[in-house]
């Protein structure tokens, strides 16, 4: 399994995908946090990374889908899937290796934004007057959220041999589970039904963790969500055997 993990990481680094993803994330979150009129840190006058944590899930939808779009689709197209699946490794370890490699890249994408945390920390009056707990929770939430997106991305990549199709499926599914479900909660006439549907959405649990309270229910939800999509990926992966 680690052989495939290492190969995936190397291919991210070798194809510049890694640098582009890291750069794009840092630049976009930076723009929203410091420069975009009306909502940036200076306009709000609050020493908090909340702006970044509000926009990051949407940027990640795009980036994670881009990272995972080729992971299985490309192997299917090239035919190399037949090579790796006839080596002494299980389908499960192939999927897990690809999942962990993509997630590792996302974690390393988040790390440079700690610079922003430091800046906010210095800007606050008095220095250090920031809600560290909330920021930590939000970072943790972003990682869990990214793991769900990665699950969706791998699943989308497994159902097609076309990278563009995979990218689109992954973005639509991620957007649906993050934003659409939680929007349903705000529709008045759906009432209780809408609110319970929003509980199934990723945003509900992300917001909950963002407050800095790590609730086991939220963690279980995120991990379960990821597991379901990885399970679906395995199912599609094995459909050649039917």
């Amino acid at each position: 399994m680690w052989t495939i993990y290492k190969k995936e990481i190397r291919s991210f680094l070798g194809s510049f995908i890694a640098y582009v993803v890291m750069g794009v994330f840092l630049v976009l979150t930076g723009l929203f946090l410091w420069f975009v009129e009306g909502n940036n840190v200076f306009d709000l006058g609050v020493a908090s990374l909340q702006v970044m944590f509000d926009i990051a899930p949407y940027i990640l939808i795009f980036l994670v889908s881009a990272i995972t779009m080729r992971s299985i689709a490309d192997e299917r197209k090239l035919g190399t899937l037949e090579i790796i699946t006839t080596k002494p490794v299980t389908d499960t370890s192939i999927i897990l290796a690809k999942f962990l490699a993509a997630l590792t890249l996302i974690v390393f994408t988040l790390i440079p934004t700690l610079v922003y945390y430091y800046a906010i920390y210095q800007l606050a009056t008095p220095v250090g007057n920031v809600d560290t707990g909330s920021a930590l929770g939000s970072y943790f939430g972003l990682i869990l959220l990214a793991s769900c997106y990665t699950g969706i991305g791998l699943f989308s990549s497994s159902v097609t041999d076309n990278q563009i199709v995979s990218l689109l499926i992954s973005m639509v599914l991620s957007f649906f589970f993050f934003a659409v479900l939680s929007m349903l909660g705000d529709i008045a006439w759906l009432d209780a039904v809408g609110r319970s549907l929003s509980w199934f959405g990723l945003e509900f649990h992300y917001n909950s963790i963002s407050r800095g309270v790590i609730d086991t229910r939220d963690a279980v939800y995120f991990i379960g969500f990821t597991a379901v999509f990885l399970g679906l990926t395995k199912l599609v992966f094995e459909s050649r055997k039917w």
């Binding site: 052989t3 495939i4 290492k6 190969k7 190397r10 291919s11 070798g14 194809s15 090239l78 035919g79 190399t80 899937l81 037949e82 090579i83 790796i84 699946t85 006839t86 080596k87 002494p88 490794v89 299980t90 050649r240 055997k241």
Partner: protein
């Protein structure tokens, strides 16, 4: 027996690709698996290597069941799939190291050196696979199949698309390998079989229609292999 196949069948939907075939290959033989396109050659090989499971029947390689112990079988089988799929953006050496790791080879560097030698790829080892010509790519495919020093080699059309010189070279490599390994190779080129194989299995529409040593086939029919093949296949279609 190196390869044993018992009543092996594969049905796709309503179409029977392989229909209850039986054959045995003892250790150290090079066997040609012949048949027209769509006869079931690749499907049989995919089942032997554990890519797809059989619909019914089964088989074993070196006494290990191909369905029950698929992972164990894969450790002793080297497989070159049809069309030789490769990661075009990887370097030759990098790719072989990756494949060695996947196959559970202990001393990967040594194994990579060894297969680079056998397939005469040493000068190309630092090139990207995508830059190589078809003949070299085929050698990389073969090197990948050899990386874990398998007891059994299953090669699906190893010489397709090569120029005449490359074909001769590939044949020599395979003949050399056949000295201490069991080889099952598929092709639809007759000269190929005559040049390399001790034995021929001919398959058509999922049935085995001939399984004999090359000499016996020629003696019994008093014809060239090409004519024997044509006769057998047309006979079957009339039946």
């Amino acid at each position: 027996m190196s390869i044993q196949v018992d009543n092996l069948s594969k049905v796709y939907g309503k179409q029977t690709a392989v229909n209850s075939i039986n054959f045995n290959i003892p250790t150290g033989e090079i066997v040609g698996f012949l048949g027209p396109n769509g006869a079931g050659k690749s499907t049989t090989m995919k089942m032997l290597t554990g890519y797809i499971p059989p619909t019914s029947g089964g088989g074993s390689i070196c006494g290990i069941d191909i369905v029950e112990d698929s992972l164990e079988v894969r450790k002793i089988v080297g497989y070159l799939p049809e069309n030789n799929p490769l990661y075009l953006d990887m370097y030759v050496k990098e790719y072989l190291t990756f494949m060695g790791g996947l196959s559970g080879v202990k001393d990967v560097n040594k194994a990579v050196e060894h297969v680079l030698n056998i397939t005469r790829l040493i000068p190309e080892r630092h090139k990207k696979i995508g830059q190589l010509s078809k003949g070299y790519r085929q050698r990389v495919g073969l090197a990948q199949a050899l990386i874990h020093d398998p007891k059994v080699l299953i090669l699906d059309e190893p010489t397709s698309g090569l120029d005449p010189l490359q074909v001769v070279e590939m044949r020599n490599v395979i003949t050399d390998l056949g000295k201490d390994k069991t080889v099952l190779l598929s092709t639809h080129i007759m000269q190929e079989v005559e040049a390399m194989c001790n034995r021929v299995i001919i398959i058509n529409q999922g049935h085995i229609i001939a399984d004999d040593s090359l000499e016996a086939l020629k003696q019994n029919n008093d014809l060239g292999l090409e004519d024997i093949f044509k006769n057998l296949i047309t006979q079957k279609q009339i039946d």
